[in-house]
Amino acid sequence: MMLRAGDAGVLLAGAGLVAALTVFAWGGGRGDTAVIRAAGQIVQTTALTHAQSFTIDGPLGTTRIEIEPGRARIARDPSPRQLCVKQGWLTQSGQAALCLPNQVSLEIRGRTSTYDTLGY
């Protein structure tokens, strides 16, 4: 018999350790709050609990931000290169989408913040 009773236990414990390490190392950063800024000033801070959308006015036009449970994105923006729209959904704490031409930014925050401060 190749696998004895204790072996299965050791393998299960090992798998549990791997799973715990995965959660510890990779899963800790899910965000729960969205911070929306326009021209550097915070205009909206909202929890990622239910679907809602905001329209923010900037120098170029209107930026539309969509919030869904656990994630947020910039749905529409007048910036020429659409970089912040192409970033898609943000879920992790510390992620941010910046629409520089329209001076609007969307940042995700969690319980633990990855960075003390970010300068754009």
Binding site: M2, R4, A5, G6, D7, V10, L11, G14, A25, W26
Partner: protein, 183 residues
């Protein structure tokens, strides 16, 4: 002119350890040629030999074979006293310590697979502890922990099964297992 000869008595034990260490070194060299996506993720084939030695000849012999493997492997790969050598040594040290404890587990329930998995975790644990304390004292290693742990689990289990199969295999032909007589 007087002729003096220093005679070092060589016991059968010494020969056996040297032979097994050569086997482990060979596997170490073969393994160094295998490309790996993440440095440090290796099958650890030499641990098969270490484990077989532990189960058949005891912990002292296993420690000798392991130490010789790390030292000679470092010489042959050109990494003697380089960071990789110390990582290897730290891994072997922790792995052997874990095995020293784990071999007292009741053999009825815990077979070679258990020992192999525990040794593999000891190995990667020792390496990461040294790397985290000495080489990369930053949070960067934490992101790789799951990769290393998963590799230790998988390769440890596979190596353990190989050891179990080798132990269960019928004894080889006696003519082949006699020690070679050196002139």
């Amino acid at each position: 002119m007087t002729r003096s000869a220093i005679e070092l008595p060589v016991t059968a034990d010494d020969r056996r350890i040297a032979w097994l260490a050569a086997l482990a070194i060979g596997l170490t060299l073969a393994e160094a040629a295998i490309p790996s996506p993440v440095p440090g993720v290796k099958p650890g084939l030499a641990n098969i030999v270490i484990l077989l030695v532990l189960l058949q000849y005891g912990w002292r012999a296993a420690a000798w074979v392991s130490a010789l493997r790390v030292l000679a492997g470092g010489l042959l790969l050109g990494s003697l006293f380089a960071p990789g050598f110390w990582l290897s040594a730290a891994g072997a040290l922790v792995s052997l310590s874990v095995l020293a404890l784990a071999r007292h587990l009741p053999g009825r329930y815990f077979g070679p697979v258990s020992l192999s998995v525990l040794a593999a975790f000891g190995h990667i644990g020792g390496q990461l502890a040294l790397a985290g304390w000495w080489l990369l004292p930053s949070a960067a290693l934490i992101k790789l922990l799951p990769v290393f742990a998963a590799a230790a689990l998988i390769f440890g289990a596979v190596n353990g099964v190989i050891v179990a199969r080798l132990l269960a295999a019928p004894a080889p032909d006696k003519r082949q297992s006699t020690p070679c007589i050196l002139p």
